[in-house]
Symmetry: C2
Subunit: 138 residues, 2 copies
């Protein structure tokens, strides 16, 4: 693929070529459709993230243009969401970070989330057991 960092990997050090808009030059730029496809989200999701200030793409004409910074932020958001956190929490965890790959996740908050997901898993397993008994019973 392109020279873009996969989610979870280190961010290439490039502190010299940031433009006035906070976008690095000579790096990939995506339309909304391209970025949506890359991260398996909808156009609507990207516009929604922008409306709540999580993404701030440039514009070319009326069209949105997403640079590497946007892609990095989106990668972080998607990752945090997969861990079961809300967008508000995502906002805090990726705020003011030089590298979005290093999430602001306290030990305490991490414990809580683990406990929360374990409860959810237990609920799902109870439901599965019940459904399987219903299924084989009939």
């Amino acid at each position: 693929m392109e020279n873009w960092n996969a989610p979870g990997l280190l961010l290439a050090a490039d502190d010299s070529a940031d433009s006035a808009f906070g976008q690095r030059k000579n790096e990939p730029v995506y339309t909304i459709g391209e970025l949506a496809k890359k991260f398996k989200v909808t156009h609507r999701t990207l516009r929604f993230y922008e409306s709540v200030g999580l993404l701030t793409p440039l514009r070319h004409g009326g069209r949105r243009l997403y640079g590497p910074n946007d892609a990095d932020r989106l990668a972080a958001i998607v990752k945090v969401k997969k861990l079961g956190f809300t967008l508000s929490e995502a906002r805090q965890m990726i705020a003011n970070e030089a590298s979005q790959q290093t999430l602001k996740l306290s030990h305490e908050r991490c414990r809580e989330q683990i406990a929360f997901l374990e409860r959810k898993r237990a609920e799902i397993e109870a439901a599965l057991a019940e459904l399987r008994s219903i299924y084989t019973l009939r």
Copy 2:
């Protein structure tokens, strides 16, 4: 507790004493607070279920009075929700049933739900693995 059937158990046959309001006589009646406590739901939830036609309690003055039929229906709703179905699905599954304990759950729909919950469980387990690695890493 009272002579009310626990969720999941058979419904006592009592087709002789239904009043004009579809409530059996000489059987427990609950206020909204009592029913809420019994099923560990909020007042708001019971009012919401009524607003969408899932429950139809009688009234005494302005106050709601829930009879055994309401309790049976609520037991069924709570059970269906625990299996991960929506309220719309709950409505279909308990519609026009002599006994709410026998859910209208087709083999096909049952399979689908099992598959759905297995996917969710896999997502949760992936998240847990990631969170645990983050937790021990720091």
